[in-house]
């Protein structure tokens, strides 16, 4: 079985995230890391491999797109247990929207398929922690002509059959599909493992390739800020909330103050 797990290098959500003067996300000035939500995807990819067992050869390839430092995202995936990694890096990609991102991912997956066999599962996280659109898995499925089974909280497989449980918008659903498919998992799918010392050492010897757009046969004019199908006109930091009134509850005073406040704002 071949599994490609797409991961993203994102600015640390707990840091002071900013935009550049061209309204793209500042990916250099802020410390970055493997998106927390993609760790769950790596975990589920590794669990699929473990479930497939020793007898079947399963290869988990971690794939990322991003600037030089983005290689850290696939390194972490290798440390967790992925077998191979691909880092697509090209200055022309900077400022790409969902559409171009999904194009580059699709082309990279096609190259991985040509080099070492078609993926049975393309695994993704539910969304990135920076743009948090959650649309790239569906776009990728559309581009690759694959079914999508997304936002899984529980993943079960039997042979090439995949069944997942998910919290839909209005119902809890069980979704079924046949490999090959695009699968995305949520943070409910199970705690992601920490890299072990052995894993960290082993990762150093695992194959890690860096590809440019030229390697993928993608024209630089198809990606990046200028080629985006959407444009950001303005970014404004939300004004900090003005400090509110804080009271200490003493002998029931808190409840009265709370009720008074809600009444003053006409919520009662």
């Amino acid at each position: 079985m071949n599994i490609v797990v797409c991961v993203k290098y994102v600015p640390d959500a707990t840091a002071d995230r900013q935009f550049e003067s061209d309204n793209t996300v500042d990916r250099v000035g802020v410390d970055g890391l493997l998106s927390e939500l993609d760790e769950y995807a790596v975990e589920q990819a590794l669990q699929l491999k473990e479930k497939a067992g020793e007898g079947t050869e399963t290869v988990v390839t971690a794939l990322t797109i991003g600037p030089e430092k983005a290689v850290d995202a696939v390194r972490k995936a290798l440390q967790m247990g992925a077998d191979k990694a691909v880092h697509v890096s090209d200055e022309a990609i900077a400022g790409s929207d969902y559409v171009a991102t999904s194009l580059v991912l699709a082309k990279a997956i096609e190259k991985i398929a040509a080099d070492s066999g078609s993926p049975d599962v393309v695994m993704c996280g539910m969304a990135s922690t920076d743009a948090s659109g959650g649309v790239v898995p569906a776009m990728l499925a559309e581009r690759l002509g694959l079914p999508q089974v997304t936002l899984a909280s529980v993943v079960e497989t039997q042979g090439d059959q995949v069944r997942v449980k998910r919290d839909g918008d209005t119902a809890t659903e069980v979704i079924g599909g046949t490999m090959p498919l695009v699968l995305s998992v949520t943070d409910q799918s199970g705690e992601a493992r920490y890299p072990s010392f052995k894993g960290i050492m082993a990762a150093k010897k695992k194959p890690l390739e860096t590809w440019s757009l030229g390697d993928l046969g993608v024209d630089a004019g198809q990606v990046g800020l200028a080629a985006a199908w959407t444009t950001v006109e303005d970014t404004t930091a939300r004004p900090p909330r003005t400090a509110g009134e804080i009271v200490k509850d003493e002998d029931g005073s808190g409840a009265t103050a709370l009720t008074e406040f809600l009444a003053s704002k006409k919520f009662i």
């Binding site: 909280s153 599909g177 950001v232 909330r241 808190g254």
Partner: protein, 324 residues
């Protein structure tokens, strides 16, 4: 005037409130055409979908019977919209396609964008007459405005992004026979368990949300009682969901629901960045927490440092009394 397609958000033909918000926004951009993908039997009649969307300005209602679509995920609906968009473009033009920003809605938009080579903006909280969409990003710390520059703008719009405005539309029904490819029928909905009705407002649509976190210690009764006194929806932090106290569908935050109500009351919730991402744009924020150092107090308009187990029941009693 060009058409604006609005994908109707409904459960088995019961139209949900975001549909009316989308129609209200659509009127700014052109002539609203509602798209109903559902049981055709629910389209007509006094209580039918057509009557409902007409009242909010739908000039046209495309009715697509979902008999051959119902059991499948996302992909067939994207094909339906692609085919309706092509017809509208040929008729008199298409100004935009508005889709509810639910998990499914965003994925429909994603597939559609690639199909019709059009730009996609997700999670818009406002859209102006000239198509400029506003988004709230980085856990609500930034407001961003943007536009689609290629093809027909596809914009997914979050609940509570506009106050629904009634206005009579013609509501001309167009029965639309879509062709669904076999490829779109490969991800199947095997089973579906509708969420149990709580009798409370829907979390993402509610004007008031009362949430509980770790500080509840697993006892949500005081939170629920306050919610009911205020006519509010109940929410939960990730800590409360991970502890198994509340189902995931109640989770507010980065990996749960994003809410933007008039009033958000956080009880026993510390206010980590992941939680803020789901509620920071609420108009008024109130918190009750034992820990006066809790970061949630940095956000609040009003805060009580105290035990929610005593503060909430007392406040609930006073509120009920005032309401008479």
């Amino acid at each position: 005037m060009s058409e604006v397609l609005v994908l109707i958000d409904h459960v088995d033909g019961a139209v949900r409130k975001p549909t009316y918000e989308l129609l209200t926004i659509a009127k700014r951009l052109g002539e609203p055409s509602a798209v109903f993908i559902g049981p055709a039997a629910r389209a007509g009649g006094a209580d039918g979908v057509t009557e409902k969307v007409k009242q909010y300005g739908a000039e046209k209602v495309y009715v697509v019977d979902d008999a051959q679509i119902k059991g499948y995920l996302v992909a067939p609906k994207a094909e339906v919209l692609q085919q309706i968009a092509a017809q509208a473009l040929g008729n008199g033009g298409l100004a935009a396609i508005l889709i509810p920003s639910s998990a499914e809605g965003k994925e429909i938009g994603a597939r559609l964008a690639i199909k019709i080579e059009s730009g996609l903006i997700t999670d818009a909280v406002d859209v102006t007459a000239d198509g400029v969409a506003t988004q709230s990003v980085f856990a609500g710390n930034f407001t961003l405005t943007g536009k689609v520059t290629k093809g027909t703008p596809i914009i997914t719009v979050k609940p509570n992004s506009a106050a629904p405005e009634e206005s009579a539309g013609a509501g001309a029904v167009v029965e639309f026979a879509a062709t669904i490819s076999d490829a779109a029928k490969k991800a199947q909905i095997v089973a579906s368990q509708p969420r149990q009705a709580t009798g409370r407002p829907e979390l993402t649509e509610a004007a008031i949300v009362v949430s509980g976190g770790r500080g509840t210690g697993g006892n949500f009764e005081p939170v629920e009682a306050l919610a009911d006194a205020l006519g509010a929806a109940v929410g939960a932090s990730r800590a409360a969901v991970d502890s198994g106290w509340m189902p995931h569908s109640f989770q507010v935050g980065q990996t749960g629901k994003t809410v933007s109500p008039q009033l958000y009351v956080a009880n026993g919730i510390s206010g980590a960045i992941q939680h803020r991402a789901g509620m920071q744009t609420s108009k008024t924020i109130v918190a009750v927490n034992k820990d006066e150092e809790a970061p949630i107090f940095e956000l609040v308009d009003f805060g009580v440092v105290g035990d929610l187990h005593t503060v909430l029941p007392a406040a609930t009693e006073q509120i009920v009394k005032r309401k008479g």
